[in-house]
Amino acid sequence: MSLTVQHLTKVYNQQKAVSDISFHVKAGEIVGFLGPNGAGKSTTMKIATTSVPPTQGTVLIADLDVTEHPMKVKQITGYLPEHNPLYTDMYVHEYLQFVGGLYGLQGKALTLRTREMIERCGLMREQHKKIEMLSKGYRQRVGLAQALIHDPKVLILDEPTSGLDPNQLVEIRKLIKDISVDKTVIFSTHIMQEVQALCDRVVVINKGEIVADDSLKNLMNKKEGTKSIVVEFEQPVSLEDLRSLKGIKVVEALDETRYKIDAEGPADVRPEIFRFAAEKNISLVGLKVEETSLENIFRELTESIEHETKRHNQ
């Protein structure tokens, strides 16, 4: 089942949280919804899950308008809100049974489904504990389990991995990947690696506007041609000498013996640097090409608007 955001606008007290955004998530697709804090990710997700009404535009889930058929939409959507609110005084299995009951599961079906979710989310040992006793990683699992208990076709996860330690991060990502086989999933994050680990399409939002909607590969390719090289010599060299080399645009000293070199154009300047070192009889101890990092793409996409608006304001 697909999810379509149509010209969505949300205004909170004259402040635009989301401004006329549109995108489409195909059935069965996993899409990362990326953006810095306060970009409008959560607002969009809240509208999609009917907890906040849109100012203009709408969201269609499985061709159902969320403002017109909220009950039907709720029945087929699983939602993990930001900060993962839970009834901390309930036991894990008790909580899952409660949520299952809200979706109309009853009796044996409910018991079976709860047990299945506990197994799938790796909560076997924790199921008889109170939620308040659980670590953050396990709470996140409970949050996912409650979002999945009614086997929803569409899964909306708002920052499912924020605040987890590296081990939990890997586990939760793997869990999301496993459970999303036959579901349409949209998850928000501000970590690029997450998108890389989970899916290949990404929608980037900044200040309420969509700044990119593409596969990760395409985004990386677009930003190519700005390769930079970090080079380390045994002893300090003069910046002037380095700058005079062919095909080099900018040289920046990182510390006494390490330099960051930006090449001009796509040509490889590494042989040039090697020859330079050999000529001067200086030992070259390190040479590393810095690929355009995911963080850089993210920063460029989400900062460019800021620059533009600044320029505009000036």
Partner: protein, 242 residues
């Protein structure tokens, strides 16, 4: 609605709230009724339960807002209300579930006092010399009063995410409804309107029921006041989509 109701009730039972509420209510009323000489039935000399029925509302003014204060306020603060609102539940399901859970708890705190009736019944001289119909009317009145207080408390809780604010607002509104109008009507400026103002308050109708006459006007009063407060709660909860 049933799911919310059972969850709330098991929440009361698991978090000791239920035991504390019932325990405090029964201890207070028990002491006033049988031990403290100023209000004790044994000292009073008349076989009736006026002590219970005239003092219980004042205990409830504090106790019921304490039961209801967490219902919405805590869920708002913890963010779990958002979770509930994204489940296939209508606002009515959530509100009525929470309302009925508190109401049941109040009824459970009243039930054990029926023992008092049998005590006084047999202590009377001659035994059985008690106004049974008055007691029945008073019980119905007290239960309905609990229902109204619960709806007031639920409303107060839905207005804020701070439990203390919810408690104070709830207790104040209960107090105002119970004796406020009565006191207001005794100010000597209303002339012929005084009775009307008196009838807006709970006390007038509560006392009327205590006489053992179950008048449909009093019933309608209690039910409609409770309904109005629940309706306002619904509006407040629904206001997120305005």
């Amino acid at each position: 609605m049933i799911q919310v109701l059972t969850k709330e009730i098991s929440g009361f039972l698991n978090s000791l709230i239920a035991y504390i509420v019932i325990g405090v209510f029964l201890t207070t009323i028990g002491l006033l009724m049988w031990v403290f000489p100023d209000t004790s039935v044994l000292e009073y000399g008349y076989a009736d339960m006026d002590t219970l029925f005239s003092l219980a509302p004042y205990v409830y003014i504090f106790l019921i807002p304490a039961i209801t204060m967490r219902s919405f306020a805590e869920e708002k603060r913890a963010g779990t209300l958002e979770l509930l609102l994204t489940k296939p539940l209508s606002d009515w399901d959530i509100i009525l579930g929470k309302y009925l859970a508190s109401f049941f708890l109040v009824i459970f705190s009243i039930l054990p006092t029926m023992v008092y009736y049998f005590s006084i019944y047999s202590l009377g001289s001659p035994a059985g010399n008690i106004d049974t119909s008055g007691v029945i009317g008073s019980y119905i009145g007290l239960i309905l009063l609990g229902g109204v207080f619960c709806s007031v408390g639920i409303l107060a809780s839905s207005l804020t995410s701070n439990q203390i604010v919810a408690f104070i607002v709830g207790a104040f509104l209960c107090f105002l409804l119970f004796t406020g109008f009565e006191a207001l009507s005794s100010i000597n400026v209303w002339l012929s309107q005084a009775l009307l103002i008196k009838q807006l308050g709970i006390l007038y109708h509560y006392e009327a029921m205590g006489k053992g006459l179950i008048d449909s006007r009093n019933l309608v009063y209690f039910l409609s006041v409770a309904f109005i407060f629940i309706l306002i709660t619904k509006l407040v909860t629904g206001s997120r989509s305005w």
